[in-house]
């Protein structure tokens, strides 16, 4: 049969077995892989506008005012709540002239406190000191306090911040 373009019985069986076997493997393999990697793909959007629970007009000028909020994360069958906090500093009466700092120390994640008498944020864990603008003054932190750079005021005057982490 060599030289002719007719396919031999043996080759036909080989090709058919291979093709059907391949289809079956893909039909079983794709759901199997999808099942295993599913949580990695469905990790939902963590970004959201979060009200900090205070109206802009109630926040005094030039004083770091603390706020906190809790975000709930659903992982499979478990709900995990994580607390976040920070400080709002209104530099002037201009509603856009606001600095919002995270209270999470950039060293190892402890919560910094505002000490008005020292005019500094002080982290209780390793005595790190930050200025009112969040700049590192002393201690081990590698970078300044994180800022919530996106914020807005809704129609009722509530201050909202844009949060990117769960």
């Amino acid at each position: 049969m060599s030289g002719s373009n007719r396919i031999s019985r043996r080759d036909f069986v080989k090709v058919t077995t291979g093709t059907i076997g391949g289809i079956i493997t893909a039909a079983i393999g794709a759901p199997a892989i999808g099942y295993l990697i599913s949580p990695a793909l469905s990790a939902g959007a963590k970004e959201a506008w979060v009200p900090i629970g205070q109206k802009l007009e109630d926040i005094p000028l030039n004083v770091p005012t603390p706020f906190s909020f809790t975000r709930t994360q659903v992982n499979g069958w478990e709900r995990t709540s994580t607390s976040f906090g920070g400080f709002v500093i209104r530099k002037s009466a201009d509603p856009k002239d606001i600095l919002i700092l995270s209270s999470r120390c950039t060293h190892l994640g402890c919560t910094v406190n505002w000490h008005p008498e020292a005019n500094e944020f002080i982290c209780p864990c390793h005595d790190a000191k930050f200025s009112k603008e969040g700049v590192v003054l002393d201690g081990p932190p590698p970078k300044p306090l994180n800022q919530y750079t996106e914020f807005k005021v809704d129609n009722d005057g509530n201050l909202l911040i844009f949060v990117k982490e769960g």
Binding site: P31, A32, Y35, L36, S38, P39, L41, W77
Partner: protein, 219 residues
């Protein structure tokens, strides 16, 4: 190159003898009733694979067992398929193993020299029922809870030893977290280990003796 690798392996493993011994052995005239054993083996492998996949998400704790199954059904890609196959495969396996046992009984294939194959097979049937019994509790819903309450109660009705058996099965006098945990352990470790061992003995005996002839009218 593949040829070389194959020859190297064949020389050390004896692939050719393995193939002729296991898959190319002489058979009596084919009969569909004779395929039920292979069907049982296939279902066992199917249950093992889907079961292993389910343990990726299932958690055997009273707090989360039900929720984790809800998550498998609604939150995981193809979770409904994996659990569905495991659920229906379980029912089918009990059925196929039972019909296989009936077939061997009706055709008298359990007779000399295959008595041991039969005895091991009965053990396999009991283990299969055990898998069904322990697996039934794992969804931790009302049906599972009360079915296990009743079934352990039945086991507890044995004279003299009943109360002790009931406590061993439940891990205490009540159906509790301990019951769920030990049923889970039995379902994924103990019974499958016994099943796998018995399956190898069963298969060894079948290959050793060959399959029995289907009896003729004059037999």
């Amino acid at each position: 190159m593949w040829q070389k690798i194959y020859l190297w392996l064949d020389e050390r493993l004896g692939l050719k003898e393995m193939y002729t011994g296991i898959l190319d052995r002489p058979e009596p005239k084919g009969n569909w009733w004779n395929t039920l054993g292979s069907a049982s083996l296939f279902l066992f492998i199917l249950q093992a694979v889907t079961g292993i996949f389910l343990t990726v998400y299932y958690t055997p704790s009273p707090d989360h067992a039900y929720d984790s199954i809800q998550y498998i059904m609604t939150g995981v890609a193809f979770g409904w398929l994996v659990r569905g196959v495991h659920h229906w495969g379980a029912t089918l396996m009990v059925l196929v193993v039972f019909i296989h046992l009936l077939r061997v009984f009706v055709t008298a294939s359990y007779k000399y020299p295959r008595e041991l194959t039969w005895l091991v097979g009965v053990g396999l049937f009991l283990m299969t029922l055990g898998m069904g019994f322990t697996g039934y509790l794992l969804p931790w819903n009302q049906k599972a809870f009360w079915a296990t309450t009743v079934a352990t109660q039945i086991a507890g009705s044995v004279p003299y030893l009943g109360d002790f058996i009931l406590k061993v099965l439940r891990g205490g006098s009540d159906l509790s977290a301990l019951t769920l945990q030990r049923f889970f352990a039995a379902h994924i470790w103990i019974l499958p280990a016994i099943l796998t061992g018995l399956i190898f003995v069963h298969l060894f005996l079948i290959i050793k003796h060959g399959e029995s002839h289907f009896p003729q009218k004059e037999d």
